[in-house]
Symmetry: C2
Subunit: 456 residues, 2 copies
């Protein structure tokens, strides 16, 4: 029998996260205080984030950071996740490429998001925080944080982007089953929400807006902090368990990946699988290609600008040096709600600028073409976000076929699509639109970031 799954016992759950910041040739530019334009220290972030997360955020010296034992214990509910050889997909594509995927969809919350949610809930508990707030787009991060806070006995309030709250009621129910309090965003419960609804009462929300609302609640509520599911450095740090495990599991296959692929929203799953492998590229030992697959409707890496920008709509966050479409960006209502964010993580933006990785944009019809092919050949229904990674994998595998090359491709299956079947219905109905964004429209939004940089 051909070996399909490459497993490791829970004793092999990593005991340290990998902090790529410590090894980058060009360190990320500093976060800036939007009022003073001064670089920020970790303690400047304490009003918003748990202290340990704030320290990790700006830690550019420690390559390895210990994973607390209580976090490893929670990880053991689903980690080590399987590495799987996609024989079925290879056969369907008739490609000489060897395709592997890391299956993060087996997490009880249904995606990789739990890797950071558990860590953030743990640090909150340690610090005596009793409430966490957050935002969620597709609902995967909200579901994960609801689960993690419940495990550590912390209350959780989630602002869910309104278009998802209404279109994905099952995601809302999952959060409520885990005991969280879920509010559609924009809401009238915050100043940020009220301001936006005053201008556009029918606005369907965005991650940027929901972040503003969650931060506002955190900073105006006693003993309450904010947790973010992507973009930030400490989130990417927590996600490196994916790549660290995958590295050991690839060793079991006897192959080295030539190409590593993940979908891209703010960067959490991409960074998670890539950084542990990228350290060898930084060290000059490998020439692995890293490909971020972003939606054509929200192309910050392929068509955005590297500038200082806010992480949220209302401008509550520090100024972050990143690839951005502008914090006023209003994405189309594509089905991959988790990829509709205007910016890219700070570390990753620097690595992109320095040529360590590349990006492709995928329209949503191509992404579902690939997702359905994957479901029918591998038996797993992927989340709409993950479909982008599969589509980029299909492109590379077909290039191998044309060239007659047997490359080894590893992609991250960030989550399953069981709660996204309405999106598949839309695809099968033939009504789904690809959603490319025009240069004119993009330019309109990017101005909101340009303005900040011209002032600097």
């Amino acid at each position: 029998m051909k070996q399909k799954k490459f497993l490791l016992p829970e004793s092999e759950i990593p005991s340290q996260w990998y902090n790529i910041q410590a090894e980058m040739p060009n360190k990320p530019l500093p976060f800036l205080n939007p009022a003073t334009r001064e670089p920020m220290k970790a303690s400047d972030l304490y009003p918003i984030f748990c202290e340990e997360c704030a320290k990790q955020e700006l830690n550019q010296t420690d390559t390895w950071i210990d994973i607390p034992e209580e976090v490893r214990e929670q990880y053991s509910a689903y980690r080590v996740t399987p590495l799987v050889r996609a024989y079925g997909l290879e056969k369907a594509l008739d490609t000489p490429a060897h395709i592997y995927f890391k299956n993060e969809s087996v997490s009880p919350a249904g995606s990789h998001k739990l890797n950071s949610a558990i860590a953030q809930a743990y640090y909150a508990k340690q610090q005596g925080v009793t409430n966490l707030t957050t935002e969620t787009g597709a609902g995967q991060w909200g579901g994960a944080l609801s689960y993690a806070t419940k495990m550590f006995g912390i209350d959780c309030a989630v602002y869910m982007v309104k278009v998802s709250y209404e279109g994905k009621p099952y995601r809302r129910s999952i959060m409520q089953t885990f005991g969280a309090n879920v509010t559609p965003s924009p809401s009238m419960s915050t100043r940020a929400g009220k301001d936006i609804l005053t201008v556009d009462p029918l606005y369907q929300g965005s991650l940027g807006t929901a972040i503003s609302e969650a931060i506002e609640l955190a900073t105006t509520t006693p003993n309450c902090k904010y947790a973010l599911g992507s973009v930030l450095n400490h989130v990417s740090l927590h996600q490196t368990v994916i790549g660290l495990e995958a590295e050991k599991q690839m060793a079991l296959t006897g192959e080295d990946p030539d190409i590593i692929i993940a979908c891209f929203g703010g960067g959490s799953n991409f960074c998670g699988i890539s950084f542990p492998f990228m350290r060898h590229k930084i060290a000059g030992k490998t020439n692995t290609r890293f490909i971020a697959a972003e939606p054509a409707a929200c192309p910050k890496l392929t068509r955005g600008k590297f500038e200082y920008d806010f992480g949220d709509e209302a401008g509550y966050t520090p100024l972050l040096p990143m690839y951005t479409l502008g914090h006023s960006f209003k994405p189309s209502s594509i089905h991959a709600g988790g990829l509709r964010y205007h910016g890219a993580g700070v570390i990753l933006s620097q690595l992109m600028k320095d040529g360590y990785m590349e990006a492709v944009d995928i329209d949503q019809v191509e992404s579902f073409d690939a997702g359905v092919l994957f479901a029918r050949s591998e038996g797993i229904i992927p989340a709409p976000e993950s479909c982008h990674a599969i589509a980029a994998t299909v492109r590379e595998a077909l290039k191998c076929k044309v060239a007659g090359e047997s490359k080894t491709i590893l992609f991250n299956l960030s989550g399953h699509g069981f709660v996204d079947m309405a999106s598949y219905d839309s695809y099968f109905s033939g009504d789904m639109q690809p959603y490319h964004i025009s240069d004119e429209e993009l330019a309109k939004f990017i101005k909101s970031a340009d303005a900040l940089n011209n002032l600097a």
Copy 2:
């Protein structure tokens, strides 16, 4: 770190199924031809089922039956499934009991149903069958067979109980994503469906009716056979991989289960986890208790009658000796759609009659109480069907607490609830009804079986 998951490599996927029929002290009574009342041979079943399945159905001599290598290869996509120690649930109940569960929800189709679907699709392919038909209630079996037929390149037609087709559109979408053709039942596409709709045009369907439609299609279509997801002996046989793995995994924990629990619809997941352990009870070596948890709305084991009855509404099947509520039974629309079947498997009915196992009935509110407690303590949202097993586990664990006894309880988590969140919404709304059925109502339905036996 306390070990939570007990894993085995895919080389430990069983190479044989366990056929309890060969070791039962009292063999099951024969299937009867409804017209002649003569015992049936395997070949009498060939018009409906694949030949190998028909042979397995009536095989009372071979204790072990080889699992084809192609089936083991498909199993390797998700098997060996984890055995998990439910530390969180134990803590939430403050019980000295040790609770373990076998996690079949990690299957890509979301439940244990794939274990038999893969085997049946394989045997169909081997025999040159090009089309399989089936019925589905909650949609778990239909989803599993859609997946399995796609893997072996066979077309699949599913009759889905209308109340589920309309109330669980995501389940329908999952089957369509795997390429199956799904029809709500009763439909006008079969004589059985037309007859029922003529009497009751608004009838919301039942498994019994959907089975009639699927069998009719199979017997009137060239090169087409019928596949069933529960009740039958060969289905239980395929499901024994659950218990065979669990036995090896329990050995890793150093404990023997005192009590084994599973939810009960037709018997597939209950038989799957129980039979490999029950063989030691039959051999007089252990005194393990086996508890089937059935819904109070469909109490065939606790309040049904052991009689010959049809397996379907229209009377297309052989007469089966089993605990039944009568083939005309019309169950309430409870959320655990997979447990709404009028009869129990033939083997299991005999074992129940002979005192090797017991049954409890659980109303759906108690089942969701337990399911939400499990979600909030273990982080996994269980299928409404599986909630019944958890509720029975909670009952036993609380008895241990009162008695101060540390028993070891093993239950089967048959599936996850990601596609059943509307049921959780109903529970949280406070509108959910327990749905007990009165003696008068039961008596009305059981008459349909009594009539058949009085004739015999």
